[in-house]
């Protein structure tokens, strides 16, 4: 994907020609599009945009409303286990026998898992509950019916 124009409002990317099949080894029929090879490049691939570490990327589905504001019920999450966790990132966590998605909040050595929906309470991580930060949520995908 090649950027051909950028301003503060909009970015324009070069259109792709990959629908044209290029035969290997055979002769290409001459015609109006005979120089199409020169423009051959790959079509925009959403996988490449959303996935930084393919081997470490997994998907998860949001259930419930505790992250309303960031995620709706049913949103698809792109989770990267290769990303470092830190204050402010949204993580897929495993806590007390369940997977949950929350924003990590670190302050004065106290770790809290913050729901985005203010009607839910933050969870304070203590030595009694074992927290596993399973991966970092890098993108979310929502269907708009």
């Amino acid at each position: 994907m090649r950027k051909v124009y950028a301003s503060t409002q909009i970015e324009i990317y070069k259109p792709e020609f990959s629908e044209v099949e290029i035969s290997l080894g055979g002769s290409v029929a001459a015609g109006p599009f005979s120089n199409v090879d020169d423009f051959a490049s790959e079509r925009i691939d959403i996988n490449k945009l959303l996935i930084r570490h393919p081997e470490a990327t997994f998907y998860a589905r949001v259930r419930g409303n505790s992250m309303l504001g960031d995620f709706n019920d049913g949103d698809l999450l792109v989770v990267d286990k290769g990303e470092e966790w830190s204050h402010g990132r949204i993580a897929l966590c495993y806590l007390e026998g369940e997977f949950t998605v929350k924003r990590i909040h670190l302050e004065n050595g106290v770790c809290m898992l913050m729901p985005s929906n203010t009607s839910y309470k933050p969870i304070v991580v203590t030595s009694e509950n074992t927290l596993i930060v399973w991966g970092i949520v890098t993108y979310s995908i929502r269907k708009h019916p």
């Binding site: 081997e55 998860a60 259930r63 897929l92």
Partner: protein, 418 residues
């Protein structure tokens, strides 16, 4: 030359998606929930043996609260590809030795231990799969080093480097001869009869004895244990053939039974070659009888079928397979094993059709096969099958199957937000 080996791989895969299983005994059962094919360390400790039929240890499972899983090969295969892909990034040469093991050809480094630990950490963090690393001058010694890393995780940190003569000798004194990589049961018995019990004794045996009793494979193995590289690196290529071979759960004798099995294997193999967009023009079919009690030998027959055209259509391939099968099938024998291999591939995209239509594959099958593959991909109950395959797939016993978390969008992790 390092060897990377995933620890209790199948059980570890289940744990990635169910962390509550950490520190608990986990076992994975073979197809049809028959036998134990993987155990976590905790399950090993309570005495669950590898390969034992599940029904024999039900009580042990119950008493120890063992988490029991049906084999989820879709998940294990994907996790394996992730692990192998990460490791391949460290070396231009990788030999994937099995689903959970690979050798790498690493350049000499001043700090192999740190390097090995870094790779282990990388795989662990990205995939959740724990691995052990054994680094040694040869493949056979890397196997030994890996075994030490796995056996003594707290002392080695999961990575053992065999970089001195002292360490080599010490390791071979520790290792029993039957546990040497590739030695085989028959050779182990021979060696023990000759008074050889430890790997070091085998390494020090006269070469003439080894040549006489164990052929050139034995010589290579012995040299490798002595630090001389002679087992070549096998690089992975794009699949040039696909086989589906199975041992039957019981003996089969009648034509209908054998035909049904072989047709089912053919359908599986044909689906596989369509996935990599290959067409095949040769097929091998084989049948093997059970071991005859008096001679201890099995009768094995095979036939090669040359196709007049290249195809990946299940319908066409099955026709040729059945015609080949007719040639090798004999009544009144007890068959225990059969298989189908498809080969002589051409790429679907670059296939040159023949001039005369009757020498070509039926072009209408392509759309049909695409439709069947698409339906079977989304079907959890066996999908579309040929009438000559029976409904046995529907009956597959998988009582404890976990989700196909990474290969089926309907099975991905569900995250509670309460």
């Amino acid at each position: 030359m390092p060897l990377f080996d995933c620890n209790n791989f199948y059980a570890s895969c289940e744990r990635v998606f169910n962390p509550s299983l950490n520190d608990k005994p986990v076992v994975v059962l073979s197809n049809n929930d028959g036998c134990v094919i993987a155990r976590s360390n905790e399950a090993k400790k309570i005495g669950i043996e590898m390969g034992i039929p599940a029904f024999k240890v039900q009580e042990l499972f119950r008493r120890n609260n063992v988490a029991v899983y049906s084999a989820n090969f879709a998940l294990y295969g994907d996790m394996s590809r992730r692990v192998m892909s990460i490791l391949s990034g460290y070396s231009p040469l990788q030999e994937v030795y099995s689903v959970d093991e690979c050798f790498l050809d690493l350049a000499e480094t001043a700090t192999p231990k740190e390097y090995g630990l870094r790779m282990k950490e990388h795989v662990g963090r990205w995939t959740g799969i724990p691995i052990s690393v054994g680094i040694a001058p040869t493949k056979a010694l890397a196997k030994v080093a890996n075994r030490i890393a796995k056996k003594y995780p707290s002392q080695t940190g999961g990575c053992y480097v065999m970089d001195t003569e002292e360490k080599r000798v010490k390791a071979l004194r520790w290792l029993s001869v039957e546990d040497v990589w590739g030695i085989g049961r028959r050779n182990a018995v021979k060696l023990q009869a000759a008074g050889v019990f430890k790997a070091v004794d085998f390494a020090e045996m006269p070469e003439s004895w080894v040549r006489r009793n164990m052929t050139v494979t034995g010589i290579n193995l012995q040299r490798e244990l002595n630090g001389i590289r002679c087992i070549e690196f096998v690089e992975e290529e794009k699949s040039k053939s696909f086989s589906v071979t199975r041992t039957f759960e019981k003996e089969y004798g009648t034509w209908d039974e054998i035909k049904e099995r072989v047709v089912t294997f053919t359908a599986m193999a044909a689906a596989k070659i369509r996935k990599q967009q290959s067409l095949c023009s040769r097929i091998q079919v084989f049948l093997q009888t059970n071991y005859f009690k008096d001679t201890e030998e099995a009768l094995s027959r095979s036939v090669e079928v040359r196709l007049p055209f290249s195809t990946s259509s299940t319908l066409e391939i099955v026709d040729f397979v059945v015609s080949g099968l007719k040639k090798i099938y004999e009544k009144d024998l007890h068959y225990k094993r059969a298989g189908v291999t498809l080969y002589n591939f051409t790429d679907e995209k670059h296939h040159q059709p023949a001039l005369f239509p009757e020498m070509n594959a039926n072009p209408r099958h392509k759309g049909l096969m695409n439709a069947i593959d698409a339906i079977n991909h989304f079907s959890s109950s066996g999908g579309i099958r040929l009438a000559s395959q029976d409904a046995r797939m529907f009956k597959m016993h998988q009582e404890h199957l976990s989700g196909r978390y990474t290969t089926d969008i309907r099975d991905i992790l569900q995250v509670r937000g309460e």
